[in-house]
Symmetry: C2
Subunit: 663 residues, 2 copies
């Protein structure tokens, strides 16, 4: 089989600088556009006023225009009397002031006689309340310099200076070529049908039962929704370019060559996605080489290794990898610098901040690795919680507040070490974040949603590491709240024992959360007839939770009660990180059953076998109760909307919700 393994894995900086050197320095150039459509564009040269404003001597007040000489000596005791059309004419602000009149008196200062004559009690000096021509703008003066990004407020001033069209830097046109036989356009759908289906989906998630497991919108098996081209489209537009998206191109060298030639012809920059890796059908690198030249194939960054930097007809052609995170990262590292060059824009380095990493990150020496993190401030210390690192973890792009870079020379970062984080969100927003680390429950999303609805900027950021790891994070002062449902095997109580054990000499607070139904998530109709742990015979494939997860503790407890050795459970070593992942594993037949909460089974239209009714609480420090966003959290936790939302989800009850226990 024909495969092209990477010949020259390059350092990112080197690859980029060589690529930029190889490009023609020529900008996309200048275009003249209507001033009224120029907001957000950058001036290509200095702009000069064509006319003065005001363009004539004009009245600066509503009142009367007078001949200043006729007002000399007017006073309270000896007012001057002015006759209409002879000594004065009525004028409004903006009116033209014509000789012999050379001054204006405000309406408020006039004493009107019945007969049209007016009395004034003070003289008007020449040009009083008159705007001389050019007072605001003088013809020929520079209104805007070069390289100025035009704001809304600039536009009326340009117009007042007699300017109708303005020379701006042309937006680079970026051609986007999605490829792949397995791809289907994620945006091509009957929107009406979608609209309806989607509402049902949300509705069902909010509670009503439903037969079908999946909410729909999924591609047929073996097909993949093509979403990267839409990511590039919007990133290009966000960064000041004009994006042109090609229809999906099949894995056929001829069709791909033709498209790349077309694009190189009509665009300033071409992106080919994907087919940049070493796959059997990855023709991209051959096509670019045959049409022009390939400068780089493979860069030492992770994710993102299989990047192609090439030229066709002197135009930059960039092959980006297919995994969404790789695609995003390589776009920002290689496409944006080229766009900045076109746009004559200075590189703005991302804002950085010093943080403490909450989890050990191992990393290979082969690559410079980019790790996305969630951020929060606990006791004045910025805490970075690493998100899923997989190249396919696109949700981590949506959730991340920033990222840190593990250099190629390093094998990783140990937990609690200091790291530099590049911020994707302003610090003042991050400072309003309640950090929640521990056991997972979908109600955390609901609480965050209800906090955000208030529009105070206060929000909740949750990391799902299991109950025990959450409490350890709390002990290390890396979280405000630790959601926990740890069962004490002795007395069957929840959380108190674990807290006392982990915080021997510190008084802590348990905020009582919700009671929730824990049990076995099974396929519709429970085909394997699972009722208790005892039913988990070797031919039943189980999906477990990670170590330290309360649900795993509960499962071990049930096995113990039944006197079953974990080794007998098929799939005991297969770990999922959340209840939802357990549910989807069952739904997609990666397992027959796994333990999780009722609401997740219901969300995917699966069946559920009750095993326990557990207490899901929030552990914190007394001092943290004073934090504004923790107060807001408590308000939401005890609110009516919160109960309504949970009742729709099902499987929760509220016996002690919001009660504060010092332990």
């Amino acid at each position: 089989m024909k495969r092209n393994l990477y010949l020259n894995i390059q350092e990112k900086e080197q690859a980029l600088s060589e690529f930029l050197k190889a490009l023609p320095y020529a900008m996309p150039g200048i275009e003249r556009i209507a001033v009224t459509e120029s907001r957000g564009r950058m001036t290509a040269e200095a702009v000069y006023a064509r006319c003065s404003s005001p363009s004539y001597n004009s009245c600066a007040m509503d009142g009367i225009a007078v001949i200043s000489a006729h007002t000399k000596g007017a006073s309270e005791d000896h007012p001057a009397v002015l006759k209409p059309e002879k000594d004065y004419v009525e004028v409004d602000t903006g009116d033209l002031l014509l000789p012999p009149y050379d001054a204006v008196i405000m309406a408020e200062e006039l004493i009107e006689e019945g007969d049209g004559t007016v009395r004034i009690t003070a003289p008007a000096h020449p040009l009083a309340h008159v705007r001389p021509a050019g007072e605001d703008i003088v013809a020929g003066e520079m209104v805007l310099p070069s390289n100025h990004v035009i704001r809304g407020i600039d536009i009326p001033v340009l117009l007042a200076a007699g300017i109708r069209r303005i020379p701006v830097v042309r937006r680079p046109v970026v051609g986007i070529l999605p490829t792949g036989d397995e791809m289907v356009d994620a945006a091509e759908q009957n929107t009406a049908e979608q609209n309806a289906a989607e509402q049902n989906a949300a509705a069902r998630y909010e509670g009503e039962q439903s037969a079908e497991g999946d909410a729909g919108g999924a591609p047929p098996d073996g097909k993949i929704l093509e979403t990267n081209s839409w990511m590039f489209f919007h990133l290009v537009e966000e960064n000041g370019g004009t994006a042109v998206r090609w229809p999906i191109i099949p894995d056929d060298p001829k069709q791909l060559s033709q498209a790349v030639e077309e694009a190189a012809e009509s665009c300033d920059l071409v992106i080919v996605n994907a087919g940049s890796s070493a796959g059997r059908d990855d023709y991209t690198v051959h096509v670019i080489r045959s049409l022009g030249e390939v400068l780089t194939h493979g860069v030492a960054i992770k994710p993102g290794k299989p990047v192609i930097l090439g030229k066709v007809r002197g135009k930059p052609v960039i092959g980006l990898p297919g995994y969404p995170v790789s695609a995003y990262l390589t776009f920002t590292e290689f496409v944006i610098p080229v766009m900045n060059r076109f746009l004559k824009r200075e590189e703005r380095p991302a804002q950085e901040a010093a943080a403490r990493i909450s989890k050990t990150l191992m990393s290979g020496l082969k690559y410079e690795e980019y790790v996305r993190v969630k951020l929060g401030v606990v006791e004045g210390q910025l805490i970075a919680a690493p998100l899923a690192r997989g190249a396919g973890a696109s949700m981590s792009l949506v959730r991340s507040d920033g990222f840190c870079v593990i250099p190629r020379s390093s094998e990783g970062i140990m937990a609690h070490e200091a790291v530099q984080v590049k911020l994707l969100r302003p610090l003042e927003e991050i400072e309003k974040t309640l950090v929640v680390t521990g056991s997972h429950d979908i109600i955390l999303d609901v609480i965050n949603d209800l906090m955000l609805e208030q529009n105070t900027g206060m929000n909740l950021s949750s990391a799902h590491v299991g109950s025990l790891s959450g409490l350890i994070a709390l002990r290390k002062r890396e979280t405000h709240l630790a959601p926990s449902h740890l069962l004490c095997e002795e007395d069957g109580t929840y959380n108190t024992a674990a807290v006392r054990e982990l915080f021997p000499d510190e008084q802590m607070v348990i905020i009582k959360g919700v009671r929730r139904r824990q049990g076995f998530i099974v396929k519709k109709g429970n085909p394997k007839g699972i009722r208790t742990a005892a039913d988990l015979t070797p031919q039943i494939r189980y999906i477990n939770r990670q170590r330290g997860a309360g649900t795993r503790v509960l499962f071990d407890y049930l096995l113990k009660q039944e006197g079953i050795d974990p080794a007998e459970i098929t799939g005991y070593e297969n770990e999922a990180a959340t209840h939802m992942s357990v549910a989807v594993a069952v739904q997609k037949d990666n397992a027959d059953t796994g333990m999780g909460i009722y609401s997740c089974a219901r969300a995917l239209g699966l069946d559920f076998v009750d095993a326990a009714f557990e207490e899901y609480d929030f552990v914190t420090r007394p001092a943290y109760l004073e934090l504004p966003y923790l107060k807001e959290f408590l308000r939401v936790l005890t609110s009516g909307e919160f109960r309504e939302r949970l009742e729709k989800l099902g499987g929760y009850s509220f016996e002690e919700t919001g009660e504060i226990r010092y332990v």
Copy 2:
């Protein structure tokens, strides 16, 4: 004459809060739009994944799919031999993984025999290099919460979650009604003609002579370019609304009522401009009252007093004043809060910083006054230089870096006092600003333009206060550079004497600038036949410069030489702040002549009578020579482009340009 004087001047805060209370709380509501068009919009409710991603178990690598059981025990010494289609099938990243295959081995790890069989030297555990369904996104999980502003990066993830349409907060529709018989639409022009004319204008400004005085684009006398509606249009769009602009409405109550009713019918918010002051033709307040109610007419802010806050058919109708600065200020203070309410957006207070004001600001007790300032950092101290305060000074909106508010209770701020400044530009940009205070010359704009062309962010900000005040600002450490052309009457030398006098015990630096032609700016053909100061008989109207201006010092010197008493000069007391203002005063016949530099006369196509060839230099401190932006200034000052630009302007020479003199 019918005038409506303000009955109830209100405090801004009170007027606004009462207005917001009076509005229906109803938002513009929700609309469902295509995800691919949702960037920049705000989610109206939480959005849940409709499908999982990946939607099936898929291969995570290019290589072969195998049955893990068949690979058990494979090692370097005992490789496993796999047969095509029986033990393995070739797969690419993203391919569907179907039973019996349950693991993937990377292409890089294969040893290929000629016959299609492959050898592997390590076992593959179940699900090795497999992406389980739902690894990235799980159906039913919350993808985005409420009130989330959708970014480019969110869009592919929404699509991957099977979402095609998304509920967002509807953009409020803002109707903009320009009014006034004297108004002409600033945007309505034959753009082709404009385009040409404009190029000529720029060209002429860059040097070629021209007969006509004005560069064109000006309205006929008595008419005013209507530009406010375009300011509102772009400020509305910048702030997340949809702007609808009406054609200019004449000062006729019937037509205005009709338009207001239409707008209140079809829009969420209506802006009427202007006709909100006490003018004879100001029907706006009557119209709003007759159609609905007027809550406020007149607010105690300056500029901006004549604001109308009213309601028609339950819709907010806001009357804004006509002067551009008043219009801008009242828009930001009254329209934006209402839009934020519609958009469920939290009020973001402007970033503030402590500064020292460089000039005394007197202010009346009647109003809270907003003063726009230019900002720069000198020796670590943020310096705020007040810009033109007139309600008509729209250029001050373009030039300002921030503004400070003089409370109603205060009579003003003394020079060098501390003030809080609301920033309109980020501090890191302001910190790259070379502060230049002193004598005016249009070459300062050229230098700034050439600095900005480098795209380093370094720029020059100039305040025109005259040579002497500039040197005093330098002494007070409120400027980096003081451009000066102060003549020493004893020996006819420039600047050195003045510097020595003002800085008796400090060594200073004079950066030699340019020599420039100073003289009498006169109308085309010099109708009054002015040759020297001796020709300034009483019937000649002179326009002078402000005290401390080098040009005024020069004029006084010429008068002295001719033995003329300033009192004999008609208009000696009329002061203009810049050479350009002098030129336009002559052009517009506010004066017969005034002293200024050749380039300004030429820019307006006027004639010029030489009087002196003076030295325009830049005074600074030795220490400042180390500042990066001052170095950049020196680079530009001595560059070829700079000379070329000035040779086009005419009237300059470069004998000692860039030389550094310690005095």
